[in-house]
């Protein structure tokens, strides 16, 4: 059976390959597209570490900075991103998010002496190491698009979907946070799904 060509669900492959060829404009477009996705990744990672009190947007910014520092021909040889395809790239930035958030949590809780040690250990952060990944990670690429489309929903509907799926809260918990009845949250959930489907069409 012939191999099917890799999909390019959100123009990620084209932008990534152009960025790898040092097209700065494509790189900026790619980072812009990724920003909502990074925000979800950071939120997801923070949700696993309750009560950190860390700012989501500053962590997204720091992640973007790290990605930019270690991508492309200007990056140091030993720490450069060496993949070529979106799945490896998404996996790579997932690792960076995990590391950035983990370091931020440690910094927030560790005594000053330990913080200094972490700073000294930054050199051990191996950005170049890559796990083996599926060559056609459609779900990962779809997630980038879902994250972007969520930004276009009304804030109330977006927050219900984020709480429900990306923070795994129950309808009762969401209702409590938003000060509404669970029945009303279920209706908002329905309408948010309908909006998302209208924007994205049939999800794979």
């Amino acid at each position: 059976m012939a191999n099917s060509p890799p999909t390019d669900l959100y123009d990620l492959r084209r932008l990534l390959q152009a960025a790898l060829a040092d097209d700065r404009s494509a790189w900026n477009d790619l980072l812009t597209k990724l920003r909502p996705y990074l925000a979800l990744l950071v939120r997801r990672r923070l949700a696993s570490n309750a009560s950190t009190g860390l700012g989501e947007s500053s962590l997204v910014q720091e992640t973007l900075l790290k990605i930019d520092q270690h991508f492309g021909s200007k990056a140091p040889e030993g720490t450069r991103f060496r993949g070529k395809e979106p799945p490896a790239f998404l996996n790579w930035i997932g690792q960076i998010v995990a590391r950035v958030v983990a370091n931020a949590i440690r910094d927030a809780h560790a005594p000053p002496r330990d913080r200094r040690r972490e700073d000294e250990n930054q050199g051990d952060f191996d950005f170049a190491a890559l796990p083996e990944v599926d060559s056609n990670d459609e779900v990962g690429e779809m997630s980038v698009r879902v994250a972007a489309e969520l930004e276009h929903l009304s804030e109330g509907r977006r927050i219900v979907l984020q709480h429900r799926y990306f923070e795994q809260l129950s309808f009762e918990e969401i209702a409590k946070i938003l000060g509404k009845q669970p029945g009303a949250i279920r209706v908002t959930h329905l309408r948010a799904l309908a909006d998302l489907r209208e924007r994205m069409g049939d999800l794979p």
């Binding site: 997801r44 990962g140 804030e155 927050i159 809260l169 129950s170 279920r186 209706v187």
Partner: protein
């Protein structure tokens, strides 16, 4: 931020009746990340039903995205939780000759939370081994203590042998690097295995056998004072040639996890394991969760972060749970008891493991009775009870089933005979044709005993029963523990390809009784016979203790 949104956003318009229906349906769909979508039962409104199903697909797409995000943000360098940064540089390669004259490194098998696993040739013995690099993170004092604890466990485990536990062979140190040399098990993990299965899961009988087997191994290791605390499909290896499961990674998660993290994998961890010391009740939970996962292809509570998983596991499995459809009721019941959120309400590890074995063996016996053609009634199996010096026939009944039983694709239950502990019974078997007759009993703890004849008839021996000849086995006393047993008779045209020695893994010493914990060989031998050359009859002996009230 959310409260602010509530204040500034206009309220949603009131829902229409159709929206109410859809909202409730989708809320229910969103409560599970199961791949199967339950159809809304709205035959009167196909338009609404179509809309519901399309939106349900969006729900599942969102679950998949959330799951992918979680993996990307947490799964680091090969499949498990991110190790401390300082450990990432520790690695070995094909060019390293770390163990000259002892082991030659061949290839990397995988990477875990605390290091890598490599395949190597043992240069002194004709075998291959797995070499695990150990690279815990944290400050030097803590690492030294963690490694010392692990080394103590490893030293103990090198003296330990169990057919369902991966053997620890050696502990090696090169400079500041530490290595565990382990028995190499070809076949990957059960996690790999279910991923490779087209159905994404194992059949319930295979899954239950693996769990009963590794449960036996776990019990034996517990006696050495070592806990596991990270039982999951990825930590059970599959010996492909023998089709056996072996538990691995004892103590590694417990000893090497950072204090800030919990040791274990959240989807398979008991809710109390997040904040209480390790206990055997946690291993019961993890075994039950692993059995559920192997049988359904999904973790019982497939949330993507520990707060969600903990809240799901406290709520318990839904009742009924559509994912359990292909699972026999007794196995589902055992899983539910093992997943009880209250550790006090879970069965002990011993009880859980022996119950899985017992239910498995009883169900296997039931499934054998379906092997014989249903129209053939050439074999009769009956039970009589001794009353006032005379044997009186006991009428069998078809056991009552619970409602969900009807939807399950599992063996038909055997007819049941009510008895009490202390009863003396006789078993009567009559075949209407000449051949070979063997009678087994599976006790309440799952042991399979050969009741007749004393030894399995060898190949080429003369038939041991004539057409119409009555076999009468009397003086059998129903003893404790109370419970459900299976009595089954097998008639075959030729002697079963099964030697007594193959069934003697329980009663020792002396090996006078033919008894086993694993009835696979019996099932294999029976199923090898042509359908027209075999008959199987099964009866359940359901005995309560003498205070049980049965008259």
């Amino acid at each position: 931020m959310s409260n602010l949104v509530a204040a500034i956003e206009p309220a949603e318009a009131p829902a229409t009746p159709d929206e109410e229906r859809l909202a409730d349906y989708l809320a229910a769909v969103s409560n599970t990340s199961s791949k199967s979508i339950v159809d809304p039962p709205w035959t009167d409104r196909p338009d609404l039903r179509d809309r519901a199903l399309k939106l349900a697909q969006s729900v599942h797409a969102l679950h998949r995205c959330a799951s992918s995000l979680f993996e990307k943000a947490t799964v680091t360098f090969g499949g498990e939780s991110p190790p401390d940064a300082s450990s990432l540089s520790k690695s070995i390669s094909l060019n390293d000759d770390l163990f000259p004259g002892e082991f030659r490194i061949l290839k990397k098998l995988g990477r875990g939370a605390f290091g890598e696993v490599w395949l190597a040739d043992d240069l002194q013995l004709p075998r291959q081994v797995a070499i695990k690099t150990l690279a815990p993170g944290g400050d030097a004092d803590k690492v030294a203590k963690q490694l010392a604890a692990l080394r103590r466990d490893a030293r103990m485990l090198t003296q330990f042998r169990h057919p369902h536990v991966v053997q620890v062979l050696l502990w090696k140190q090169r400079g500041s690097d530490h290595f565990l040399i382990l028995e190499y098990v070809d076949g990957g993990s059960l996690d790999d295995r279910i991923r490779q299965e087209p159905s994404g899961r194992l059949d319930w009988a295979t899954a239950a056998r693996y769990i009963a087997d590794v449960g036996d191994g776990l019990l034996a290791v517990h006696k050495q004072g070592i806990v596991h605390r990270d039982i999951k499909p990825a930590n059970i290896l599959w010996d492909k040639k023998r089709d056996e499961a072996l538990l691995t990674d004892f103590g590694i998660a417990t000893n090497l996890a950072n204090a800030a993290d919990y040791a274990g994998t959240p989807n398979f961890m008991a809710p109390e394991a997040f904040d209480t010391p390790a206990s055997t009740a946690q291993d019961v939970y993890s075994l039950a969760a692993t059995l559920f996962c192997l049988t359904t292809g999904e973790a019982p509570f497939p949330g993507t972060d520990w707060t969600a998983i903990r809240s799901q596991s406290r709520a318990g499995l839904p009742q009924p749970d559509a994912r359990c459809e292909g699972m026999p009721e007794p196995i589902e019941r055992l899983i539910r008891s093992g997943l009880n959120a209250d550790p006090e309400m879970r069965p002990s590890l011993t009880l859980f493991v022996s119950s899985v074995r017992a239910e498995l063996n009883r169900l296997m016996a039931d499934s054998m009775s379906t092997i014989s053609p249903s129209t053939t009634k050439g074999l009769r199996l009956a039970v009589s009870r001794l009353v006032s010096g005379r044997y009186e026939a006991v009428t069998s009944v078809i056991p009552k089933t619970v409602p969900t039983r009807d939807i399950k694709r599992v063996p038909k239950p055997a007819p049941s005979v009510p008895l009490r502990t202390g009863d003396t019974i006789a078993v009567e078997v009559v075949a209407d044709r000449t051949g070979y007759l063997v009678v087994f009993n599976i006790g309440p703890t799952g042991n399979l005993d050969l009741l007749h004849p004393e030894m399995m008839p060898p190949a080429g021996s003369s038939p041991n029963v004539q057409a119409g000849e009555r076999l009468w086995i009397d003086g059998l006393v129903i003893s404790e523990p109370a419970g459900r047993e299976r009595l089954f008779a097998v008639w075959s045209a030729k002697a079963l390809a099964l030697a007594s020695e193959e069934l003697r893994d329980v009663a020792e010493p002396p090996k006078a009784v033919v008894a086993t914990r694993d009835i696979r060989r019996v099932q294999q031998a029976v199923s090898q016979m042509p359908a027209t050359d075999r008959l199987v009859e099964v009866i359940e002996l359901d005995h309560e203790d003498s205070a049980g009230g049965l008259s």
